[in-house]
């Protein structure tokens, strides 16, 4: 087994976002076989016996950039929790290497590992795992108290964290007096108060009602906007994964089957397993105009003659054309009827015949926002980039196809 303190040259399976952002977590060939002679670690209730079992996590490699929201997804039993727990060594890897901020974690001594867990990398649990005999404030202050911060300061920082998660004034209550959603807010506050910049979250919202789950997702997104932490988030809910994740890693039987952005996974599932997952997703909220748009059939410049444009539209069997300026921004629309009139009147200028009979959306608009706009005009819905340039169009048929199934046009 090679160990390197340097960042390795090949960003393993970094997905298509080959960004140069600094790496927070680097996992390489990590494997866990329960029952194999582990180096050290914490049993998780179940006993580590029974040799010859298939690995719970098999040869997994990935990197997480600083500030990235990285989602691990898969059915129950696919090894997500085991993988997540290897990141803070609650589960000792059988083989493979793990570096956090460039430090090889397997080389840390006990004290250093505890310090890493206390200050650098915190965890939020599926069933909250609060200390039921301690007040909400003491729960939130737990990491601080462990590292010897004095009582007053710890309480003050805990209260701040509680305020951030919307639990101001609940510090003196016991966890048992709170609802599920509020308890998980305490779980979140416990991780926030410690100031750790890596959060490990093991299905943190899956024990909550759907409405509250959505609130919690909003809260998490809000927290990420205010202070971007590195998050590794486990879920079996693809909608949640799509909503939160910058990138999603799909696991099955301990192996990685696909790693990419939500849109990539949705539009190009690697195999039937992923496709099965994807079929449950509310595609209209996850896919964006940019992912399903097509090349416009016909565009025109203002200095063209009506007959030319009409010919091109005719050849393409279109119903109209967008007229663009030199930068590609939309000036207006020419419908076939208007063009025919112009030709009839022997007009030479397109400008007189332009209409504003069109609608446009930014390429990041989710499909659900497109439904009411598409098909209202003779030209298909325009998709524009940040600078307002026309980058594609969404015909009604493309929208319906995208919402209905996975067969759709590749990116324009």
């Amino acid at each position: 087994m090679t160990t390197s303190l340097e960042l390795p040259a090949d960003p393993v399976a970094a997905g298509e976002t080959g960004v140069a952002a600094p790496v927070a977590i680097e996992v390489s060939h990590l494997t866990k076989v329960f029952g194999a002679p582990a180096r050290r670690g914490l049993g998780r209730g179940r006993s580590d016996t029974g040799g010859g079992k298939p690995p719970a996590v098999a040869d997994v490699s990935f990197t997480v950039a600083k500030g990235e929201f990285f989602v691990i997804m898969g059915l129950s039993g696919s090894g997500k929790s085991t993988l997540l727990r290897m990141l803070n060594k609650l589960v000792e890897p059988t083989s493979g290497t793990l570096t956090i901020d460039g430090r090889d974690v397997s080389r840390l001594r006990d004290g250093e590992l505890r310090e890493l867990r206390n200050k650098k990398i915190n965890m939020v649990f599926q069933h909250f795992a609060l200390f039921p005999h301690r007040t909400v404030r003491d729960n939130a202050a737990y990491a601080l108290r462990l590292r010897g911060v004095n009582q007053n300061e710890a309480a003050q920082r805990a209260d701040e964290a509680l305020k951030t998660v919307g639990l101001e004034g609940w510090g003196d209550s016991l966890p048992g007096e709170l609802s599920g959603g509020m308890r998980q807010r305490v779980g979140l506050a416990r991780a926030l108060a410690s100031g750790a910049d890596i959060l490990l979250m093991d299905e943190p919202f899956s024990a909550l009602d759907p409405l509250i789950r959505r609130d919690m997702q909003d809260l998490l997104l809000q927290l990420q906007r205010d202070h971007q932490r590195t998050v590794v988030f486990v879920t079996h809910d693809l909608n949640e994964a799509m909503r939160l994740g910058d990138r999603i890693m799909v696991m099955r039987n301990g192996k990685v089957v696909q790693l990419g952005t939500g849109a990539e996974i949705l539009s190009m599932p690697a195999d039937d397993y992923v496709a099965d997952f994807v079929s449950d997703v509310d595609r209209s909220r996850v896919l964006t105009a940019g992912t399903i748009m097509r090349q416009p059939l016909v565009t025109a410049r203002l200095d063209e003659r009506p007959e030319q444009v009409l010919d091109r539209i005719g050849a393409a069997e279109g119903l109209g054309a967008y007229v663009l300026d030199e930068d590609g921004r939309i000036l207006g629309v020419l419908s076939n009827d208007r063009l025919a009139d112009a030709v009839h009147q022997r007009s030479t200028s397109l400008a007189d015949h332009l209409t504003d009979q069109y609608a446009s959306v930014p390429d990041s608009a989710p499909l659900v926002d497109l439904c009411s706009l598409v098909g209202r005009h003779s030209v298909p819905l325009a998709v524009t980039d940040d600078a307002g340039r026309l980058v594609g169009v969404v015909p009604r048929a493309a929208l319906l196809a995208a919402i209905a199934n996975t067969e759709e046009a590749p990116r324009a």
Partner: protein
């Protein structure tokens, strides 16, 4: 069929132990005797009415009027039957044996909870100690410690210790695994986790164990009379040997009174301990900080 004699080797072993470990047994004897005498002195030096008043106050504090009234009347009855001193002698042995049993069983239970191997060693030993007929180890106890309160106390301790160990182990093993994981995940040291998370959360189970230890110890009171420990056991024994139903019955009633008193008292304390942690809610309405997208009120409404 060859005859196998395991009695002789055991007898030899007991002889050997008696000879070679005499200083150890003497030390145990001295300690037990000292504690038993101290407790007995505390119970019998004041007038019975004073002690009864203290018991009644404890009962009132633990459970309010009903239990206090029972305690008052029951111990007045014990005194009126002329069994006060005997009852206090038995109580002293029971208390000392229980305290020592608990002092041993909690560390052993913790050890068994933390290691499967330890658990697999401890378990059969406990089964053996608990199921072996009491009279059988009363004999070596007499060999080691002579007759009197000390062998009775030691036999009581050995007989009563099992549930203390078992329920400590069970309590610690059934602390929510995720909660213990959370303590690890925030960088706590193993002993911090034991002291601040596992033991407090196992406390209801441990207290149930203490209660059972106490009840088993009480069940030894009569047998303790057979090794000259005095107390209520001696009363009952006297009733049996004289075929005096009345005397035996009075002794039995006094044992039952002690048992009910101790049982209700300790189970009330266990419950109190739990309740104290559950003070009234602090009660501010949830506040939504500007800038947090979601509202805790909705969580509240949903419960």
């Amino acid at each position: 069929m060859p005859e196998i004699d395991i009695g002789t080797p055991v007898a030899n072993a007991v002889d050997w132990l008696t000879e070679n470990f005499e200083p150890l047994f003497d030390a145990i004897h001295a300690v037990m005797e000292f504690f038993t005498n101290v407790v007995l002195y505390l119970l019998t030096a004041p007038a019975p009415f004073v002690v009864i008043a203290v018991f009644t106050a404890l009962a009132f504090w633990a459970r309010k009027w009903g239990f206090a009234a029972f305690t008052l009347l029951a111990f007045l009855l014990v005194d009126a039957m002329g069994l006060w001193i005997a009852a206090m002698q038995s109580l002293a042995i029971v208390l000392v044996a229980t305290v020592l049993a608990v002092a041993v069983s909690i560390p052993v239970g913790v050890w068994a909870a933390r290691s499967d191997r330890a658990s697999s060693v401890v378990r059969p030993v406990l089964d053996f100690m608990q199921t072996l007929p009491v009279f059988v180890y009363l004999i070596p106890a007499v060999f080691f410690f002579g007759i009197g309160a000390v062998p009775a106390g030691v036999a009581t301790l050995v007989f009563a210790i099992a549930p203390g160990v078992r329920l400590t182990e069970l309590g610690i093993r059934t602390v929510d695994a995720e909660t213990v994981e959370a303590a690890h995940a925030f960088g706590a040291k193993p002993w911090q986790i034991l002291r601040e998370v596992q033991l407090p959360l196992a406390m209801p189970s441990i207290m149930a164990g203490v209660n059972q230890v106490l009840m088993l110890a009480l069940s030894m009171v009569v047998i303790a009379g057979m090794v000259g420990a005095g107390g209520l056991g001696a009363e009952v024994m006297r009733g049996i040997s004289n075929l005096d139903v009345g005397t035996g019955f009075q002794g039995g009633v006094a044992v039952v009174i002690l048992a009910i008193f101790l049982d209700r008292l300790t189970s009330a304390f266990a419950a109190k301990k739990r309740r104290r942690k559950r003070r009234a809610p602090a009660g501010p309405t949830a506040t939504t900080t500007p800038g947090t997208a979601a509202q805790p009120e909705r969580d509240l409404a949903a419960v």
